[in-house]
Symmetry: C2
Subunit: 613 residues, 2 copies
Amino acid sequence: MLGGYFGKIINIDLTEEKVEIEELDEKLLKKYLGGSGLATKILYDETDGDTEPLGPENPLIYMTGPFTGTKVPVSGRHQIVAKSPLTDIFGEGDAGGRWGQGLKKAGYDGVVVRGRASKPIYIWIKEKEIKILDGKEIWGLDTYETDRRIKEKHGEACITSCIGPAGENQVLLASIMHDGSDARAVGRCGLGAVMGSKNLKAIVVEGTVATPVVDREALTISLKQEVPKIVEKTKGLKLLGTSGGTVMSEELGDLPIRNFKQGNWDKVEGISGQRMAETILKKNYYCGSCPIGCGREVEITEGAYRGVKGAGPEYETIGMIGSNCLVEDLEAIAYAGEMCNRLGMDTISVGAVIAFAMELYEHELLPKDSLGDIALTWGNEKAVIALIEKIAHKEGIGELLALGTKKAAERIGGIASEFAIHVKGLEAPAHDPRAFNSLAVGYATGNRGACHLQGASYFFEKTATMPELGYTEPQDRFATEGKGILNYHSQNIMGLMDSLKLCKFGIYGGINLTMMLEWIHHVIGWEMTVEELLETGERIFNLKRMYNVKCGISRKDDILPMRLLSQPRRDTGTGSNLAPFGKMLNEYYEARGWDDLGIPTEATLQRLQLKNE
Amino acid sequence: MLGGYFGKIINIDLTEEKVEIEELDEKLLKKYLGGSGLATKILYDETDGDTEPLGPENPLIYMTGPFTGTKVPVSGRHQIVAKSPLTDIFGEGDAGGRWGQGLKKAGYDGVVVRGRASKPIYIWIKEKEIKILDGKEIWGLDTYETDRRIKEKHGEACITSCIGPAGENQVLLASIMHDGSDARAVGRCGLGAVMGSKNLKAIVVEGTVATPVVDREALTISLKQEVPKIVEKTKGLKLLGTSGGTVMSEELGDLPIRNFKQGNWDKVEGISGQRMAETILKKNYYCGSCPIGCGREVEITEGAYRGVKGAGPEYETIGMIGSNCLVEDLEAIAYAGEMCNRLGMDTISVGAVIAFAMELYEHELLPKDSLGDIALTWGNEKAVIALIEKIAHKEGIGELLALGTKKAAERIGGIASEFAIHVKGLEAPAHDPRAFNSLAVGYATGNRGACHLQGASYFFEKTATMPELGYTEPQDRFATEGKGILNYHSQNIMGLMDSLKLCKFGIYGGINLTMMLEWIHHVIGWEMTVEELLETGERIFNLKRMYNVKCGISRKDDILPMRLLSQPRRDTGTGSNLAPFGKMLNEYYEARGWDDLGIPTEATLQRLQLKNE
């Protein structure tokens, strides 16, 4: 018996209206694990640099991991992969919530959607019953409403992954949302636009099939031992959510303020998780199989922003829509965040593109007639809210901003690119590489662009450890030596977790490689060594890189925006620190076994069994 | 009496066939000195970001300085300024030789050519006699032949500035050449293409007017004292020319090898100035009023490259066409250099674009059918020679390469930009910012792009001094602190020298700010302080920056190619050194009084009296 997997993915061709079940062989699963790794392999095989991300030839790949559907902690997640229309390179995102477990309960490991439907549709998956259904009545609805209507029709047990109006309109910042007002987002890379380009409104899953586990008893014993420790170590996250770190982030110089230009900000306490706990927080939220519960559920019952009810803003939303735009009203941020959730847009990129627009406005570089009567001044929450609506519908200035910062800046020309804080087209999230040197390399080399989660090296410059690699205490965040190697390791580990489908916050809870191996053994039945596991993570990372190489990516693209590279924050947390970029990147390339162009060498591909992929 | 200047420039409109003499007022001269400064002011006033560099609205501005035509040492130079078609920003170059002195002898400080002639013409300037003459018979000739034919017609006393076939064909690497086979080049920024776009083949000057000098006696006394010291300090340059430093450059890690990718090269002695002196060197060459005589005159009388006669290759030609392409035969380099001189192309950009093409060829990224039967392998001198011909005539692959590395890479797409070693579109010359940290900032912020002469900060990391600024001994080339400030000073000084029209090698001869002030006093009659002089240099630099700001330039463009930023040479001279770019750039911006976007602040513009320019 092989646990963890059903060994089955659903292939759906919307053009041909065909559904096929594909069996997966163990060799492939062992090589790519699932989730991000397996989905990348499919994308890599089917597309390349010439593939039009919004064309029918771009597959939209949903994939769970071997732990999804089990009781392994923080395993309630799934991955979505496609070529990104925002960046035109490798694109992916993952979400918690219950959808991944729902697909597993239907008896499948993944769904790959190809082609394009001739009219709006949605996909219904309930065990053997897989249907392409008419989506006319839900097309145009926001994501909360879509979920409600689907539940009204199919019952409360089903779980929905869907797009909102932004995805329908192929806004390049569009997300794919899950679980209705619990709002678990696959936010990054504009994958909602890919879904929209297929006329695919939703994928709904339901079932009662249990994920097979090879040694359920041994797993139970292990979890009994480990889970309480995880709960203990992450109780801050439970209490205050991700935004519990906002004040500390400002102190460290990590929080983006005024489009990454300002160093300190005395309004930070007003938008913190602490403030949220004192005001609009109703309770915390747990994804499937999660013992941490960092999610927030909020409600606003009075004032200008009354009506907000459901998922509260994460740290990223607070950083990007709040401090990065100088919006200081937490309720306004929560409202804007819910708008993004409902309309189906990535709060990170939306916050970034609004801050970008505000700086353009400050310099009088925005096309005036496209703004209407909006005064796009820093901190103007009403303007932020107006812009979110415009972006989702590509109205006026929204048409430009719906392209994301890189493409919008290119269209404007001149110095506009100065304000576009992105790498490879993906907007930088709410962490600053001037506060954590390692993040400079992580942002520059993340396969989906500027991302805090594909490497998350800064975890190890904060409190996280990974004893098997010798990271037993926090690394010096301002050091130079070792940061390339740290990224090499942390990217490999994060890729592993994206493939096994484990939430990265598990690392703060003490999840390490040894635990992963133990759970792999209990759930799947494989005996792997630490070295084999790390090599698998490395293989997955390199396959993504090779995909990007097919798209024209090389060392020239592994760079930071000049603001982050050469302009100090001058704050109390980082002073004049600037990451010594060249030295770290070079160490990183060496650790990776990439040539001077940033391309994996033949020897590296050979070592990772990627030579003939 | 005001010395140094006639206060007269010739305005020629080729479209209208009109010639006018314009009087200059002293206030303007004092503000911008002449040469580069004054020409920039004209360009700044007449053009902007929308100006088409190859359109009739782009003025081609020839300008001498107050010292041109006097006996002030190293003053036999003139500047040419226009918007660059290679980079689409500020463009300039200067040349030694005799043309600048020739224009002064005709009684003028400058010539500004506007518009476009309806057929090939050339301009004849002999004191009061200024004519637009039919150029049919010289159109199509190479630059040596053009000079010869003009001398045949007008006599040996005239001096010619002209383009070759490359300029006629509007190759973006086209130079403007002077003095026939003495081949003094305004090489950079593709200004030959601007000249070609005007159907202007040549500007020929002749005359016997003496440049006015306020106190000829005091000047004579000063020169008697200083010139022998300059001669003594620069005798190495006289003996071996600029290429006398080639071997040392390889040792320091400064010489580009294999498109800036390789660290050491054991063939360097074979292409050195020492080897030239032992083989093909006939004598050295002095520009007008120069006591140094670094120019080479060579002759090859047998073998594959026989027929070469005239100007020998400079260090830059040897570095870019030699080591950077791995060409190890000095005679082949001399031959290729003479081809560039005759065809009228910049040897720096030509060497860079060929190395770029070789690396593309190595990676099989060149459009195959455009190459014919050329095997573009490293070191293949026959391929280099074939390519030079093709570029000048835009034949086959030459059409692509005639765009320069940046635009060619953009046209090819994908990773081609990886091999394009340029800043702002101007190919990096034969000095490496990994060998001299200060050069990283200099290349990134040079107003015409990657340039070793607009800042020449590395002079002060070698043997040069500037006592008035406290640079009394060589600076540590691998330091970080102070490099931004060094660039601030050195760029201001180099801008001064480009405006007074002094050769920068004079600094190696000990020319300093005090001497410049003394000569200004004797020649022009002005009493200036060191501070005023430096402020003038700063004003000139900032006016160029403001021009570029009009063209959309900002901090985002002040960057190095990734190869130079993050890939160590790993050689005996630099080891793993990589310039800590961000910190230095930031120090530089502060020294400059620029805002975080790299734009001079209001206060800076006010201080430099640039507010209303």
